[in-house]
Amino acid sequence: MRHYEIVFIVHPDQSEQVPAMVDKYKKTITESGGSIHREEDWGRRMLAHPIEKIHKAHYILLNIECDKAPLDEIVSSFKFNDAVLRYLIIKRDHAITHQSFLGKEREDELRKEKDDALPSHTKKVVNTKDSVVENSTESNQEPKKEKPSDSNDADEQISEVLSTPEIEE
């Protein structure tokens, strides 16, 4: 078993398929006895230079531990999938579970968007919740596995807050 870091870029028109693709890859890894240590969705980013005349694309990061066979399977599916514009696979010495720089950037962006989208009277509520979440993630830096669930909770909370004023209006 080796540790690998995979980044792949998906055509923006196929963005909706991304969760299904990731699930499929995760399934092939776990079924062969491997494990997923980190999973990040950087969303649609502007490309620094066009690839196949495309200027925006969807980025996914996976840190996995698996044998060669499942990795080969994933690589071949990258090659035969026209939606995957590019992929990078790096061997790592150990499992990397902490949030990456781009993952953090993405999270900050999402948080900002949510804040901006909210009407002013609900803004305060979310801000306090956000600060609570921030504190909890900072204190939980040692047990890193808890982090994703924390952010999911925060997302749910925010989406609840988001959905209620819309209904009122």
């Binding site: 980044v7 870029i9 230079h49 694309a57 990061l61 590019r86 990078l88 790096i90 993952g103």
Partner: protein
């Protein structure tokens, strides 16, 4: 010196400090970076370029 986790192809702000305005890698001769660090920085910049996180030139 131990491996510095901040030198990473995902840490774009750190890598941008080692590129010129037109996207070239700044030589260690100019920046004074140690050979050990410069080798890592250059591979990470090249990874970021491949993933289109950083430009190769300013003429794309």
């Amino acid at each position: 010196m131990s491996k510095d986790a901040t030198i990473d192809y995902k840490n774009l702000d750190a890598l941008r400090k080692h590129t010129t305005e037109n996207g070239k890698i700044i030589p260690s001769r100019v920046s004074g970076t140690t050979n050990f660090e410069q080798r890592r920085i250059s591979t990470e910049i090249k990874r970021a370029r491949f993933l289109s996180l950083l430009p190769y030139t300013d003429r794309h």
